[in-house]
Amino acid sequence: MTHPREHDLALLAGGEAGPVRRFLLGRHVRNCADCHRRISEYHEMRDHLAEIELPPDLAGANWNFLAAEMRANIRLGLEAGACVRTTQIPRRRNLRPAVAFACVLLLAGAAELLRDARPHRPATANSAPVLQSTVSGVELRDGPSSLTLLNHHGITVNQTVSARGDMEARYIDSDSGSVTINNVYLQ
């Protein structure tokens, strides 16, 4: 059997339980010897308290007036609290979240940099040998290796390319005045 809670029994004993609650509690108490005994104890306690003589300053107290005054004080306190809450209170700025966020960003940035700096396989498009004209000459690049035929002394050149897969650079040799033609072949 489930018994009612203690404060419900106290309210029932004091006649302060609601009608539905009083009906349900009353039915249980009529059938439960333990709860009936607790109700009897509460009745005896109330009778005992009634027989106690109050202090002189409370003997003639108007309890309803006191209750109303207490209620008014509580409301006043609540309103005062609301006023205080609307005031901007200067608070000390907490930098910890910002520092933590900056650390996370720094870590992510370092990870990205390290990832790019790490030697890795070039993309498929870049892994094929490529022949290209550069400032210094004609270069065949194949992954990390390259072969460049340099323009002697960096003299201006005429460069032409053949769709067969070779590239040519012509320049005048300043020493001999002759034309030299460098050709690099894409295999």
């Binding site: 094929a128 040998p129 290209q132 990390p144 290796s145 072969l147 002697h152 005429n158 053949s162």
Partner: protein, 385 residues
């Protein structure tokens, strides 16, 4: 240890580190030069100049600046030489050539050929020479040839020699017809064309899209098949009929051109010059589309298709050149008997080719003589042979 001692120690350590990173190359060990025993050329000496090997991170960089002094040990004048350069250890399949056309070296005379190479490769132990230099061919004044001809040097040297004869005859005619002022006017016009000629930077790859090292060099674009327009040269023995290439932004791929041999002789090699025009109307020499096979036979009156499976990407001053249209013209023809055809000066003059295409090596050399030594030296040179 005092502060001065520490600084001295660090300086010595740094110097030792630098010394370990950069070393001069030993010519006898780093380069192997092979000339056949029956070659009409003798190797007189080899200089290595400031050739160096440098270690950079995980790679070794070899800068070779060689000068090969060769002697004409045959009985005829030499008009051109090609050397084959291989560096198989560094760039797999990598090879190049250094050619010296438009020369006139009498028997017994020496000449020097510069060979400047940079090799970059990951550090690893290797045995044997770093670079191998071999003779690929020698062309004589009667257009006869000596050499293994692995790079088809005979054809290239012959074309350069025929162009040289054409241009020497042109400037000699200007001298005879209009005197030195007329020659001066022609050579100044040539120098102006050479300095004004727009040039493109090209990257080339096989079997797929070209790639470039220049950041932002690509132009996003959709693939489209573009047809060639043709410049018809009246004297050309071969006529282009139709052709196309796949274009995407500044990239052109897989050019194909159908040609007709309209001469009475069989042809064994054809090369078509390739011009591109950008959206602003500037025209550039993009390159050439040669015959697919190194040796082909195109009988008289027959068709053939020149086809190459490469991709070319064009930039100029680091900026992509978006291709708007393309033009082609027949630039070289070699007949089965070894005779060659190149466009005449009249053909070049009557088209935009003279302005857009590169001058012949001989015209480049004659202009350089005028620029450095003056008109009298140019006249002397034209009267030599």
């Amino acid at each position: 240890m005092s502060i001065c001692s520490k600084i001295a120690f660090l300086t010595l350590a740094l110097a030792a580190s630098l010394a370990a990173q950069e070393t001069a190359l030993d010519a006898s060990n780093s380069v192997k030069i092979d000339l056949p025993s029956d070659a009409p050329l003798n190797l007189i000496s080899t200089t290595m100049g400031d050739s160096r090997a440098t270690s950079r991170g995980g790679a070794i960089v070899l800068d070779l600046h060689m000068g090969l002094t060769l002697r004409n040990s045959g009985g005829r004048h030499i008009r051109g030489v090609t050397l084959l350069i291989t560096a198989q250890e560094f760039a797999p399949g990598g090879k190049g050539s250094v050619a010296r056309p438009s020369i006139d070296v009498p028997p017994g005379e020496n000449f020097t050929l510069p060979v400047d190479i940079r090799l970059v490769r990951p550090v690893r132990e290797t045995a044997g020479p770093l670079v191998r230099v071999q003779l690929d061919g020698v062309l004589f004044d009667d257009l006869s040839f000596y050499g293994p001809n692995k790079l088809n040097s005979q054809r290239a040297l012959t074309f350069w020699e025929v162009e040289a004869q054409r241009d020497r005859a042109y400037f000699r005619h200007a001298l005879q017809a209009k005197g030195q002022p007329g020659l001066q006017q022609e050579i100044l016009a040539s120098i102006a064309r050479q300095s004004d000629r727009p040039q493109l930077d090209v990257s080339l790859s096989r079997n797929g899209r070209a790639v470039g090292s220049i950041v932002g060099s690509a132009v996003p674009g959709t693939d489209r098949m573009a047809q060639f327009a043709f410049l018809t040269l009246p004297d050309a023995p071969v006529e282009p009929l139709e052709g196309w290439a796949m274009i995407s932004g500044n990239e052109a791929r897989s050019p194909q051109i159908e040609v007709l041999n309209k001469s009475a002789r069989p042809v064994r090699y054809v090369e078509v010059g390739w011009l591109v025009k950008d959206k602003q109307g500037h025209e550039y020499l993009a390159g050439s589309v040669p015959a697919s096979e190194s040796v082909m036979v195109l009988p008289a009156g027959q068709h053939a298709r020149l086809r190459q499976d490469t991709a070319l990407k064009f930039t100029r001053a680091g900026r992509p050149i978006e291709i708007d249209s393309m033009t082609a013209y027949v630039s070289q023809v070699e007949f089965a008997d070894g005779k060659v055809w190149v466009p005449s000066r009249r053909d070049l003059d009557s088209s935009p080719l003279l302005r857009v295409t590169a001058p012949s090596p001989e015209e480049q050399r004659l202009a350089d003589i005028y620029s450095k030594k003056g008109l009298a030296a140019l006249v002397t040179e034209l009267n030599r042979y």
